[in-house]
Symmetry: C2
Subunit: 219 residues, 2 copies
Amino acid sequence: MAPLKLHGVPFSTCTARVRACLEEKNVEYEICPVDLGTGAHKRPDFISKNPFGQIPVLEDGDITLFESRAINNYIAHKYKNQGTDLLQHGNLDDFAKVLVGCEVESQQFNPTMGPIFFNIFIAPLRGWAPDQKTIDENVVKVGTVLDVYEKRLSSSKYLAGDCYTLADLNHLPYIAYIMKTPHADLINSRPHVKAWWEAVSSRPASVKVSQGLTLGSSH
Amino acid sequence: MAPLKLHGVPFSTCTARVRACLEEKNVEYEICPVDLGTGAHKRPDFISKNPFGQIPVLEDGDITLFESRAINNYIAHKYKNQGTDLLQHGNLDDFAKVLVGCEVESQQFNPTMGPIFFNIFIAPLRGWAPDQKTIDENVVKVGTVLDVYEKRLSSSKYLAGDCYTLADLNHLPYIAYIMKTPHADLINSRPHVKAWWEAVSSRPASVKVSQGLTLGSSH
């Protein structure tokens, strides 16, 4: 079977989110680099794959997907009996916890951690000064989300229970980047979150993918 | 079997999103009202159900879920052979389209339509003046999302193909509210989006749920 094609770049957080899933599921894939510098993601051939002009895009034969979390859901469903069980399909209660954990990442963590990442790692690439007020406000907001995680992780090893799932995995890229900044304290100051992050980030798939997260390596 | 318990209020967009799903799946449920005015959602008994102190919460026997999109995924999976087939599980390509459509709603539509809704319908309840700059900026942004929808809907009746799915349903509450404002033009000015909305909003489940969306009825 032809390997899946992942259009993206290794330093992109959303590309890394999908790579981490593919690695956990032992799915063969090839990275098809997208030259963001010349705007390749805004040209018609790419827009025909993702009308929003964003990476990553996954091609699985005739099936084309975009949005990293949708792609990860697809991979986790299609290969549910292969590699790490990222959905806990077998038990309705466990599956419910994975669904909730994934949505908390998407709706609570991502909107508050995203602007911090953007201002520290992306704004400088565009010649913009980081917006310190936005960073400061979101450090407080993501802190309240991590306070909920701290309590949750005092009673289970991972966010959806005692197994590593998509609810944990989807957090990988942003935290891997943030750990290279003084805001690493958001994680390190919370003992259960810190232990969780050590378990998440030390997985072979996480180590491999994190090596590609090279933006702002001077930070 | 005891009906599911939905903690929330009918005028809430996120409660309505879940109600629409329960109605489409013909699942028996009861609404357990949460008195937002007295801060019932911030008290310990509610926080024990959702640590973020937000409605809705669904209780299905011993299983407790929060985050409306997670709840809808759970309902659509658990009752996949009952009511409207909101996930298109039977075909991998169709299922992939539903996953992508749901994430587009979550990551592209919601972050741009949310602030418009908030400033028009929620800010006044808190005695705040609507932030017109935020409204104007997001009208432009959501317009670019709806331009993508317009093109998509020129080749299929619904966002994930020719069947009504969760990818459509999750849009219901925000658009139902926005249609009561001058920003209805965002929908009405795009012929395929307008036809899609007429199909979505005229479904019996949509009509029933929309009757509860009574915020700002003077607008």
